[in-house]
Symmetry: C2
Subunit: 299 residues, 2 copies
C-alpha cells in the first residue's frame, strides 16, 4: 500500500487569476500529486490548495508550489484581511493513509530544509512539527505578520528553524508543519437566539473546559434566522463527531432547544463518518481497515 | 476516474489445496485485478473469491479463473452440501465505483459469451443480467444441480443463454450475472428467546411484507446465549442499514427487548456506513462523492 499524505498550502494571492492559474498548473505538473481542491478569497487575498500524493511526490509538489509562489508573489505589495507573513504562508502536511504523524513530521522538516536551502526563505516549524511548545500555535508564530517579521526574527526567541534571522525580501517567511486531519462540523439549532449557541460552544470547546480537540464558536445563519454551533474537530481519533453532536443535543435541551440539522464543510475522511455509524449501530468488533471495501482499493 | 467492478466467483472446490492455490495464483497473475479475499469451506466443498479491478481487467481475470477451474475441477467427482451445477458455479459482477448496473450487465454478457465460445461451457445469465424474469433467481436456475442439468437443458424453457443444450462433460454449467453490492448485517438482542428474533425477522424481510431489499432470519448465538436477527441487505441505495436497525429497535420494544449490539460480516462499501452517519447526524446536503476525501484518491 502506498503511503498517502495530504498537503494544504495557503498562498498570499487570491486576486490575480494569472498567478492562481500558474499555481494550479504547477500543482498538476508534478507526477504522483493530485490537486483535490482549491479556492481563492478576494477579501483575504489568499488561496488554499488541497493536494494529495505519496510520500515522495507530495514533497516535490509542495516544494514546486512554494518555489512558484516565491517567484510570482511580492509580499511588499500584499494587502488582505487575513493575517499572513509569506508568499506561501503556511504549509501543513496531514497523514491520510498508512503513514504516521511522526513520518509526516520528518517529511515536513525535509521540505522546510529544502525551501530554505534552495529558495533562501526562512522557515518556522509549527504544530506537531514544532521545535518547541510556544511554536505549536500558528497564530503565535505569525504574530507581527510580514511587516513585523524583520524585527521579530532578531528577537532572542524567534530565530527561524531553518535559515538566518532575515526575511526573504519578497516572499517573507513560511511556516511548515504537520497536523491531524481536521473536519469543519456545524450543528444547527431551532432557535434564533445566538446567545444559546455561544453558551453551548463555550461548554463544548477545549479552551472552555470541554473536549480538548474541539474548537467551537456560536454563529448566526442570517438567511435562515437560526443559531449554529460551528466547530473545527482537530483530532477525530480522540474526539469523534457523534460525541460533540450528542453533547450539543443534551446541552441544548436545557433551553428547550433541539438540533434541526448539521453540516460538514469541505472534505472529511471516510473514517470520521464510519466511526459515527459504528457508534449509532452499536457495531461490535468492526475493523475499519479490513472491512471497508474501499480500503482495499487504494493503491 | 477508473471504473471499478467487483467479481465474486464461486468455485466447486474447497478441499484440494493445490487447486485452490492455483486459483489464487491465477487471480494474482492478471494485471489490474486485486484479490481482496478468498475463503474455502470443506463441507460445502466450495471456495468464494472476491476480486476487484477496472472494467477490462476484471473481465480478463474472471475468464482466466473460469478457464483454470474448467481444467482442474471435475464435477462428475464433486460432492458437497452446497447446491452447485458447475466448476465455476456462479460468477456475479458488482458495480463498485463510477460504473452503472447496466454497464455491469453488458460486461457480464461479454464474459458469458467468451466462456461459452472458448471453453464450450453453457451459460445462464441471472439476477440483473437475466434474459427473462424466471431466470433472475439463482436457486431456480440451479435447480436440478450438476446431475440434473443434462436433462434440464433439454426442457423447452431452459435453453442456455449462451451455448447448446448440452453440459460441459466435467465443468457443467455456469451462471453469470450482475447484482448490487450486498452487506451481511446482524443485530443482537438481549434475549435468549429465538422466537422473538424469528418474529422480527419475518416482519422486517421483503418476503414477509417488510423491506423489499432485506432478507432476514432469526438465529441463536449459542456461545453468548442470545438471539440475533441475521440479515442480507441486498440494495443499500434503496434500504440503508439504519432503517432496519431502527425498525428492529421499535419492534423489539413490544417484547421488552433491546438491541445490545450489531455486526457487519465481511466487507461493506464505505457509502453504506456514511449513509448511516448522515442519518444520525441529520447532515444537510452532504455530497458523498465530493466530500469524502477517499473518493478523490481512487485512481
Amino acid at each position: 500500500m502506498a503511503k498517502l499524505v495530504e498537503c494544504i498550502p495557503n498562498f498570499s494571492e487570491g486576486r490575480n487569476q494569472e498567478i492562481i492559474d500558474g499555481l494550479v498548473a504547477t500543482a498538476k505538473s508534478v507526477p504522483g500529486v493530485t490537486l483535490l481542491d482549491y479556492s481563492s478569497d478576494q477579501s483575504h487575498n489568499r488561496s488554499v490548495f488541497t493536494l494529495v500524493g505519496d510520500e515522495e511526490s507530495i514533497q516535490e509538489g509542495a516544494f514546486q508550489l512554494v518555489k512558484y509562489a516565491s517567484e510570482k508573489i511580492d509580499m511588499t505589495k500584499h494587502t488582505g484581511e487575513h493575517p499572513r507573513m509569506g508568499a506561501t504562508d503556511v504549509l501543513p502536511f496531514v497523514p491520510v493513509k498508512d503513514i504516521s504523524m511522526e513520518e509526516c513530521v520528518q517529511l515536513a522538516k525535509k521540505v522546510a530544509e529544502r525551501i530554505n536551502k534552495e529558495l533562501a526563505i526562512p522557515v518556522f516549524l509549527y504544530e506537531e512539527a514544532a521545535s518547541r511548545p510556544e511554536r505549536q500555535n500558528l497564530a503565535k508564530v505569525r504574530k507581527g505578520q510580514f511587516e513585523g517579521m524583520p524585527e521579530k526574527l532578531l528577537e532572542e526567541d524567534w530565530a527561524p528553524d531553518f535559515g538566518e534571522r532575515k526575511i526573504h525580501p519578497t516572499a517573507g517567511v513560511t511556516a511548515v508543519g504537520a497536523r491531524m486531519p481536521l473536519v469543519a462540523f456545524n450543528v444547527n439549532l431551532d432557535t434564533d437566539n445566538l446567545e444559546i449557541a455561544n453558551k453551548i460552544a463555550k461548554i463544548i470547546r477545549g479552551s472552555g473546559g470541554g473536549y480538548k480537540y474541539c474548537k467551537a464558536i456560536g454563529v448566526m445563519l442570517e438567511g435562515r434566522n437560526i443559531a449554529q454551533v460551528s466547530m473545527n474537530m482537530v483530532n477525530l481519533e480522540k474526539c469523534s463527531l457523534y460525541r460533540t453532536f450528542e453533547t450539543i443535543r443534551f446541552e441544548a435541551k436545557r433551553y428547550g432547544v433541539s438540533i434541526i440539522g448539521s453540516e460538514i464543510v469541505g472534505l472529511a475522511p471516510a473514517k470520521a463518518l464510519v466511526d459515527v455509524a459504528e457508534y449509532y449501530l452499536q457495531l461490535e468488533e468492526f475493523d475499519y481497515s479490513k472491512q471497508v471495501l474501499e480500503n482495499h482499493l487504494l493503491g
